[in-house]
């Protein structure tokens, strides 16, 4: 990692380690004691200064390193928060959920909407995006509980404002920013709500980006 000039290659340092040549060359005698003494003193001085500079550099770089570590920690935390929509369902899915909610469209995983949105959807099943999707009381209760327990954790005002359409949530639009409207409009895709056109494993709740195939 260290090159000829003593600079460490990949890892950037702000101090310079004395090269092999420099370290190998002994102090030349000048023939004059006083000058020799002075040279030696100044050499010691230089070495000491270099050492202290080295230490100083380390101290100087420490806040930078600390800031970098802090940023890394923050971004990990942010990623964790953003990926709460990636968390798997914690409770087992009731049979009614897949049977009923997956009878006309892909069974959208509960983690894609906050609990307040699911509540509003379950309360308006008689006009579920234009059609009647009403359920018997037992199925409705089981499904509502499952949705609430596994909903996306979004707090405060944002939860109240959240749209009922998964495809209109900020999260969805961010995730699909690189998909053009033309691609969504293809006959083989039929719009962004049709997850399994491109996410073949959507029915199993898997939306891994690496397995996306947008049909022609």
């Amino acid at each position: 990692m260290m090159d000829r000039n003593g600079r460490i290659g990949r890892v950037r340092t702000w101090y310079r380690v004395a090269s092999r040549a420099e370290r190998a060359t002994p102090l030349q005698s000048n023939g004059n004691e006083a000058i020799d003494a002075k040279n030696k003193a100044s050499a010691v001085d230089t070495a000491a200064r270099a050492r202290s500079e080295c230490a100083m550099n380390r101290i100087r770089t420490f806040p930078l390193a600390a800031a970098a570590a802090g940023l890394a920690a923050l971004s990990i935390a942010a990623a964790a928060m953003a990926s709460d929509r990636q968390v798997r369902s914690t409770s087992p899915e009731p049979a009614a959920w897949r049977a009923e909610c997956g009878s006309c469209h892909v069974a959208y995983p509960p983690r894609l909407l906050p609990a307040s949105s699911w509540r509003r959807i379950m309360q308006g099943l008689d006009r579920h995006f234009g059609v009647d999707a009403t359920l018997d009381a037992g199925s409705a209760a089981a499904i509502a509980t499952f949705l609430a327990e596994n909903a996306a954790r979004v707090g405060g005002k944002r939860a109240q404002d959240e749209t009922l359409r998964i495809t209109e949530t900020r999260w969805f639009r961010h995730e699909h920013a690189e998909v053009s409207p033309q691609e969504f409009a293809r006959a083989s895709v039929r719009g962004p709500a049709n997850c399994d056109a491109c996410h073949r494993d959507a029915g199993r709740g898997q939306f891994d980006e690496r397995s996306v195939r947008i049909p022609r």
Partner: protein
Amino acid sequence: MKHPRWSAPALLAALLAGAGTAASQTPAALAESYAAAARNEAPGFAGFSAQRGEQLFRGSHGREWTCTSCHTSSPGAQGRHAKTGKPIAPLAPAANAERFTSLATADKWFRRNCNDVLGRECTAQEKGDVLAYLVQVRP
């Protein structure tokens, strides 16, 4: 999760309810249920008509969707959801042995789809007519 405390009456009721919702009935049994309900609705009940059922199935009822929007004009063939495109298994019992084997399931879909197509619930007469039409559809 709390386990329900089963009592004898509750168990009996559940068994009876289960018998009603079990997918072990036949289209003929469902037709009898609808006939009994139709007699309650209108005393002048005169049986079901496959022709009336076909008209109801294929006809337009003033709203965006008809039965054929999803089940296609050949209910013996596979259909697809008019909005999502999701495949729908054939509706005619001759093409799909699972159709009309549960009164609860049939009533559930009649309730939803008649509300969408007609804007109201179908009467027992109408349900029986449609069933009479569907049982004689060959794939």
